[in-house]
Symmetry: C2
Subunit: 404 residues, 2 copies
């Protein structure tokens, strides 16, 4: 049964039923692009949220957390790009709540039903004039924006809009799950996106929805990293509004979760691909570890190593840097059990290099965008896959030129 | 008494009595420079060693650890540059021991009295022909090399040789402590140097010497970081041979330790200054933390942040990236208690930015090599100072061009 349903997952970028999107240009930071995005559900939607673990939490993060503690449902998500509303104190909280009140009044809904998110420059207060001027445009624009428009409006230094979705067939009835994300900088180990919103038109129990959302995030966004940073604003929202008329429970939840994981993995891959200055997506797989936690420890240390990241940028099959990073990861293993393969070519085995002419064997593979690092630590059951980017001249250029 | 002795510390780069140095060109990796270095003490010296915590330990690390477990004294240190003898298995251990035997036989001493260290490319076996050809030159060259010559011979990608020393006056008698170091890449949080040797002509109890050496390293090398990597070969040796005729014990040990810390801090500073591609030395001081461990956690997270490092390279007073890194460090604090100053200018206080025109105030300061980041977390007693480098285009160039 589950397998049959599985067959019914098709990737698509259709907006789930019962949601309407709007985007507008408020010129929060610069003019010439949309930087305000609203998503409205026709009815109450089961609502989930995951937020940055940073101790400096932006105002919209604090407000969003409060709202989701008070209620299991929501109607809308409101996102601005250009101003992070982080490190803005009580005044920042006040202004965030004002934007929700104004929006609610324009839409005729409860301000507590709107989840906020912001991205952009830290430290400055929201410019309320820009909000006051632009918010009234949103109601009439609702329904005219696509997922791509929404994804574009929430970008900051992203090179391209990120959106993905899937349709599921539940005994002849269609359920859609789709998401948008923005990333590029400050992509971190926990909550790897600065912002993401997932829409679904299934009806689910809010508790099921939240648990599923958490697991799907752990299996996707929390397994990518660009620069190991965790921003003040990282926010992931999920809304399931039931507009498909399909109630998903029991075994169906597993299928819906599979679809959500696929959508979020697509988005997570795009985040890494669009990592600041990234020329490569490094797929770091650790297997044979004592347990999954140890495998993760190893993968993250290798994935964080500036020396590994620059070697991959330089298309250099530098196994020495990889095993050196593994060696300091704290993962348990015997050096003589370790094997390392790069794009399928085994470079290291039983504590030493293999005799392969890997420069010749890997010449083409290292030219590709996707590079595969496979570390086997032994015979244990632990494994982990981490996606990360390389470290390029362009990364340094972007981040040494960016103004505070 | 201690204060008086304190006054007697003078920085100098004189070689302590009873040591003779030799360098030679073996062309282990390339010709045209000295790459083999020997230090010989006239008599047995109290010997201390600190080694990489990496699980892939190079052959000379394993041999050096064994030798220092067996004996509290040593006569000599033998270092080659160009070949790391790491990931070389049993054969690597065998070849390392062969180099010690040959050297011992040429010098007429016990092979167990020679401490080995290697630096260079990982994975290849030592080329014994080069050793056999060059080792016989060392005995006649002994005494002809300076600290600078020794420091130059152990370099790899270092831009300049690193050596420092101090003389102490003990009631009219002179004691000298001096050290050499090499670094540049793979500079890490624990054992921040790839290689360093400290010479001293005081007579000390070997147990006192080892304890002092460990504390001095914790206060110096273990407080610097370039790229957060820990190599397979990191080794720090210390020899105290008593040739000054001054026996140091009791309160005198504290003075000798002060001098050693000053010498090692000088060397540690040079390591950061010569970090690959470094244009800046970042002095990251955290104070007011709950305890020193929390202060260290905060300093290391800020010092490891690619976003902070690129901002400093870009001369950008980007307080947002600094407090963001602090916020994800895991250190305990209340956001509203945090203050951050850059080169003496307070940019952040009580959870938000100050109103200072810091671009104007910091214009000159950010042009300097040394940049001072001061984070105050609250009113706790914990503090920590970490030295690290920035992240530049040149770092990426060096490490994406280096061949494995």
């Amino acid at each position: 049964m589950s397998a049959t349903l599985h067959e019914g997952i098709h990737m698509s970028t259709m907006l789930p039923a019962g949601f309407r999107l709007a985007v507008a240009e408020a010129a929060f930071r610069k003019a010439g692009r949309n930087d305000l995005a609203l998503a409205l559900s026709d009815g109450p939607a089961a609502a989930a949220g995951l937020f940055t673990t940073n101790k400096f939490k932006a105002a919209p993060v604090l407000v969003g957390q409060d709202l989701l503690r008070m209620s299991k449902t929501a109607r809308a998500v409101l996102i601005n790009s250009g101003q992070a509303n982080a490190c803005t104190g009580e005044e920042g909280l006040l202004r965030c709540r004002q934007t929700l009140k104004k929006t609610a009044s324009l839409l005729g809904i409860d301000p507590c039903d709107i989840l906020p998110a912001s991205t952009g420059v830290i430290g400055a207060q929201l410019v309320m004039e820009a909000w006051d001027r632009t918010l009234p445009e949103l109601p009439e624009k609702l329904g005219k924006a696509s997922l791509e428009d929404f994804a574009s409006a929430i970008m900051t230094s992203d090179a391209f809009p990120k959106y993905a979705g899937a349709t599921l067939d539940f005994a002849g009835k269609k359920v859609v799950v789709a998401g948008v994300a923005k990333g590029a900088g400050m992509i971190c180990p926990n909550m790897a996106t600065m912002l993401s919103v997932v829409f679904c038109d299934a009806e689910t129990d809010p508790e099921d929805w939240r648990a599923m959302f958490k697991r799907a995030t752990d299996a996707s966004f929390n397994r990518v990293s660009v620069d190991d940073d965790t921003s003040t604003n990282d926010t992931l929202y999920g809304l399931a509004n039931g507009a498909s008329g399909v109630k998903v429970s029991g075994a169906g939840l597993r299928v819906l979760e599979d679809a959500m994981v696929r959508v979020l993995k697509d988005l997570a891959y795009m985040l890494v691909k669009d990592g600041e200055g990234a020329t490569k997506v490094l797929h770091i797989r650790v297997s044979g570890a004592a347990d999954d936690a140890d495998a993760e420890r190893a993968a993250r240390t290798v994935g964080r190593s500036q020396l590994v990241k620059t070697a991959m940028y330089g298309k250099d099959a530098n196994w020495g840097r990889v095993v050196c990073a593994l060696g300091r990861s704290g993962a348990a293993f015997r050096p003589e059990d370790v094997a390392f393969s790069l794009c399928g070519v085994e470079l290291f085995r039983r504590g030493g290099p293999t005799d392969l002419d890997f420069d010749a064997l890997l010449k083409d593979a290292l030219e590709q965008r996707d590079v595969y690092l496979d570390l086997r630590l032994g015979e244990g059951p632990g494994e982990y896959l981490l996606l990360t980017s390389d470290l390029s001249h362009e990364y340094v250029s972007i981040n040494s030129d960016y103004r505070s």
